[in-house]
Structure formats: structure tokens, C-alpha cells
């Protein structure tokens, strides 16, 4: 126990020092929070507010419902221009106007939904605007699904009420019902509610900045604590420690506890200031991210025996994690190929977990999102201890 306390004290002194350095270290998270809020808020807003883009709509249905739909779409700020397309080919519209998508509502489209005939909208997407086309498809699918379900429901109700309908009766009932159905669908679609969108933007921005700052500390603190390990192995401190009856797990545990105490302080400070989450899910998220980070940098410090190189490798990995994992920039801003690498970074899981907390997931639900961190922590710790036990610290 004495050895453990002495080791913790040593690691804290190495990291923080005393006097001015200690004060600077403790103030750093607060200063960083302020800098990031003022400096990165615009960048963070891009995560929830994609730059507006143009689309084109070809309305062959030409009914009140289709015109209502188009009017509503034109009111969405996300679409900076809604072109009314004519007979020109979709590819030509995309090439000349630079639209993200061309939507064609075929003739009798809304009636076909009511009448259970299989008419579908046609969409031509701009392959050079993947994010915008994804968003557009998501919005349109959501609206159309609601309209389709409601119309089918109305047809079923009318059939029950009036029995088999002839064409004239069907047309009249269709007109009565459809206006109400379209209005209902458009009202229920959240994207058309600007107040809710703004509220979500603000929440998302705060979540992103909180995640970005916490990512930085959860990577930086363990790296700083563990950067002394190669030197301790190289200059004989670890062998001397073991010769005096110390144990390897105790040596590593002292570093872990030191890193944990400092990270916990930062986490508690940031969480109290920015996001008073419910404790269970928030602490689980913090704990797993910390364990994964510490275990990973422990393995790096064991593998890279040169102290200077270990620091360099650690810094590079930290930067890569922040960039690829969404700690500095929203992941959506990365090229698609790099986005797939995000899943191998700790900030990715931190931000995913924060999103889950923001959506009210339970502790179990959060764990389901971030369990790979626990697996990574286990594997990295095991490998590092095996390497150390096999005498990697003994300088020959």
C-alpha cells in the first residue's frame, strides 16, 4: 500500500509538477472549454446544420396534394432553391443546375397511394453530393411513408363504410380525405418544425463540444502518465522497483489510478458545468472510455521502448483519434473511406455514447453502444502485461 501511494504521488508530481504548473494544469480544462465554445461553435453547428442545397421537382401529378407538398418543401431552409423541372432529362438538370436530387411525382401519384396501385416517385440523385442526397431521401421517405399509410388506412375505412366503390365514388372520397392526410403528414414531419430544429441544433452543438473536450483529456492524460514507462524500463527504475519487492501490477495500477483521478476531476468539472447527465450512464461512458485509452497507451508504451519515440507515436495516435473519431471535426465531414476507420477510435464511441445519453438511453443501452471499448481495454492490458512479464523491461 505504501508503495502504491508513493507511486501515485510520484506520477502526479511528474505530470503536474508544482506551483504554477499545477495551477495551469487544473485551469486547463476550464480555459479549453471557453476557447472551444467561442472558437469552434460555428464548426460544431455544421454537425447538425448541413449547408443548404438545391433540388428540382417535376410535378406530373399536378393536384392540390402535390402542390401542397411542393410548397412545404420550398419553405424548408435546407433546400435553398427548389427548381420546377420540365421535360429536360434529370441528368441535364443535375449537370446544369447542380441540384442534389430530381424528384418526379408521376401523374395520379397521390390517387394511386389511396387506391393501392403501385405507383412510385422517381428520384434521380447527384452522386457528387452523398450527404445531401442521403438527407433528402430520408426526409422524403419519411413524409411519403406517412402519407401512404394514412391513405391506405382511409381506403380501408371507406371500403368498410361504403363497401366496394366505383371509380366516381372513389374519386370523390379521395379528394375529401387526401387534403387532410397530406396536411397531417407534413405537420408530423419534424423537419418542418423550425423551432424544434433549432433546439436540437443547440443541444447537438453542446454535446459535440463536451465530447470533443473530454476526448482530448481522456487521451492526453493517460498518454502523459504512461510516457515515462519506456524511460522507467530503460534506466532500470522498474527492475529496481521489482527488486525491492514491488509488483508489476502495482506499478501499472499506480499509473492507472493517477490518470483516473485526474481524468475524473476533469470529467466531473465538465459534466457539472455543461451537462448534468444522469450519473449512471454518464459515469459508465466515462469509465469505459478511460479504461480503453489507458490500456491502449499502456500497450504503446510497452511496444515502443524508446522514450522520445514513444511520446511521438503517442501524440500522432492521439491526433489521429481526434480527427477520425469526431473529436475535432464532425465525422460526416470526413471522406467516406475514412469514416469507416472512425469505429476504431475512442472519441467515436464517446460521442456515440453521448448521443445515446442525449436520447435518453438507459445504462444498459449505453453499454450496448460502447462495449467494444471494454473488449479493447481487456486485450491491450493483457498484451502489455504479457510483454512486461516476459522481461521486456530488462535491459540486456
Amino acid at each position: 500500500m505504501n508503495g502504491l501511494l508513493a507511486s501515485i504521488q510520484k506520477d502526479i508530481r511528474l505530470l503536474i509538477g508544482s506551483g504554477g504548473r499545477a495551477v495551469a494544469m487544473l485551469l486547463l480544462p476550464i480555459l479549453l472549454s471557453a476557447v472551444m465554445f467561442f472558437g469552434m461553435a460555428d464548426l460544431a453547428n455544421q454537425r447538425a446544420a448541413v449547408p443548404s442545397f438545391p433540388i428540382a421537382i417535376r410535378d406530373l401529378d399536378d393536384t392540390i396534394m402535390s402542390r401542397m407538398l411542393i410548397d412545404q418543401i420550398e419553405d424548408i431552409e435546407l433546400f435553398d432553391t427548389v427548381y420546377h423541372a420540365g421535360d429536360e432529362p434529370d441528368e441535364q438538370l443535375i449537370a446544369t443546375l447542380g441540384v442534389a436530387a430530381v424528384l418526379t411525382l408521376p401523374q395520379d401519384f397521390f390517387f394511386s397511394l389511396y387506391d393501392m396501385r403501385n405507383y412510385t416517385v422517381e428520384i434521380t440523385l447527384n452522386a457528387n453530393m452523398p450527404l445531401e442526397t442521403t438527407i433528402f431521401r430520408a426526409i422524403l421517405s419519411s413524409v411519403m411513408d406517412i402519407i401512404s399509410e394514412n391513405q391506405q388506412m382511409m381506403w380501408a375505412v371507406h371500403t368498410l363504410q361504403y363497401g366496394e366503390l366505383d371509380d366516381a365514388a372513389r374519386q370523390e372520397l379521395y379528394w375529401q380525405a387526401s387534403l387532410l392526410i397530406v396536411a397531417d403528414a407534413l405537420g408530423r414531419q419534424g423537419v418542418f418544425a423550425p423551432e424544434q430544429t433549432l433546439l436540437d441544433d443547440a443541444t447537438d452543438t453542446a454535446l459535440f463540444l463536451y465530447g470533443a473536450i473530454l476526448s482530448l483529456f481522456l487521451l492526453f492524460i493517460p498518454l502523459c502518465i504512461l510516457k515515462t514507462l519506456p524511460e522507467e524500463m530503460r534506466i532500470g527504475i522498474l527492475p529496481r522497483y521489482l527488486a525491492k519487492g514491488g509488483s508489476l501490477p502495482q506499478f501499472i495500477l499506480s499509473k492507472g489510478l493517477t490518470a483516473f483521478l485526474i481524468c475524473f476531476f476533469v470529467w466531473a468539472l465538465l459534466t457539472a458545468l455543461i451537462f448534468p447527465f444522469s450519473f449512471g450512464p454518464a459515469f459508465l461512458l466515462f469509465l469505459l472510455c478511460f479504461l480503453a485509452s489507458f490500456a491502449f497507451f499502456l500497450l504503446i508504451s510497452t511496444l515502443v521502448q524508446d522514450p522520445a519515440r514513444s511520446q511521438l507515436v503517442g501524440n500522432l495516435i492521439l491526433l489521429l483519434f481526434l480527427v477520425l473519431g469526431g473529436g475535432l471535426y464532425p465525422i460526416q465531414m470526413l471522406p467516406t473511406a475514412l469514416q469507416t476507420l472512425s469505429r476504431f477510435t475512442i472519441p467515436y464511441y464517446l460521442i456515440t455514447g453521448l448521443s445515446g445519453i442525449g436520447l435518453g438511453f438507459s445504462t444498459g443501452g449505453i453499454f450496448a453502444l460502447i462495449w467494444p471499448l471494454l473488449a479493447a481495454a481487456f486485450v491491450c492490458t493483457l498484451l502489455a502485461l504479457l510483454l512486461l512479464r516476459n522481461g521486456r523491461y530488462i535491459r540486456r
Partner: protein, 218 residues
Amino acid sequence: MEQNSPICTLQEITKRHGSSTVLGPLSLVLRRGEIFGIRGANGAGKSTLLKLIAGIAKADSGSIQMPAEIQKAIGYVPQDIALYEGLSGRHNLEFWAGIYGLRGAQKKLRIDWLLQEVGLSDKADVRVQSYSGGMRRRLNLAAALLVTPRLLLLDEPTVGADVPSVEVMLSIMERMRKQGVTVVFISHRDDELERVSDRILTLEKGKIVALHKRGEAR
């Protein structure tokens, strides 16, 4: 335990690295209250022998017999300066004192006394980074003396040290001997060995080529 009584007996010990034998077979007896010097060319097995006695390395064959009270009171000064450059001299000693189990006032007193013994009281709160080679060697020695050892093992403690630092360290060794501590130290300098050692062992390619008392011809 009487002066000159055996405190450590090495019986036919051997140490291998891969397929080559770096030390032994070798037999040796260390006695209480003596300064036992070891010399030899690089790769002769001197540091390996010290590590085997300290218990840091394990012999591949043979045995090392040592009373339990001696085993618990081994002070080992490695060839490397096993100190944190980012900490002050005092903080380094506080760390090692904690590892050795010293606490409270006893720890503070011991540290203050050692810093005075090795002549570093005025530099105690300065980072080791700014110490000279000799100062680092002295602090390295002080770390091994935090708990009064019964057996003190020093691996080339004077390498890179200035003359005053060498004098301090040799004086400490002589004081240890008077207190009944057995000192085993490795040096490349014959004048240091001849000055303080009671017996001098010469190793070559892992084997004993000479063992003589101070003043005797090799």
C-alpha cells in the same frame, strides 16, 4: 552475526543468455563487514553476478544461499542512474522511501540525513535534470541507503563521477564496512578497488581468473 562470517554463498551458479553461458560455473562466499571488489573487461559477467546476488536475475543452475534477514536488507545501486530527471533529488528519495516502506517523520529524517551524507543538501529541491554526473551518482547511492542495508551492491557507482563525488562514495563504503555492512562493488579503476576493497575478484568470460586480498599480487 560475527564479523567475517559468511552472509552469502554462491554454489556453482551459471547464467545463460540463449545458447551461450555468460557466467559460471562459479562459486563464491561473501563475508560480513567486508568490501568485495569485482573487476573485469566488458562482458565478463560482472553486472550479471551482481544481479544474481540482488535477486533481480535468476541463475540457470546452482544455488545462492543467504539468510532471510540479509535478503530483506539488500541495497542495490544499478549501473544506470535509476532516477526520475523530472523530479527533484528529495522527491526521488521520497518515492524510493515509500517503496521501501518508510513513512512520516522517520522518512523525512532519513532523507535529510542521506542528503547530507552524500553532500546534496543544498541541491535537494532542484530537479535531477540539472545535476552533474557525479551528483546523480551520489543521489543514486543515497537511494540504495534509504533502508540501512546489510548487503550493499554497487554496479560501477563511480562511472562518470568527478573526483569529489568519488571521494564521497568511497568514504561512504568505508563507513558501511565499519558498521558491519558487506559491500560488493564493481569498478573499472584498479586504484579505487585497491584503495577500499578487502578482496578483489577478477572475472574473464564469466569465470574467476583471480581472487586476492588487498595488497596481494594477482
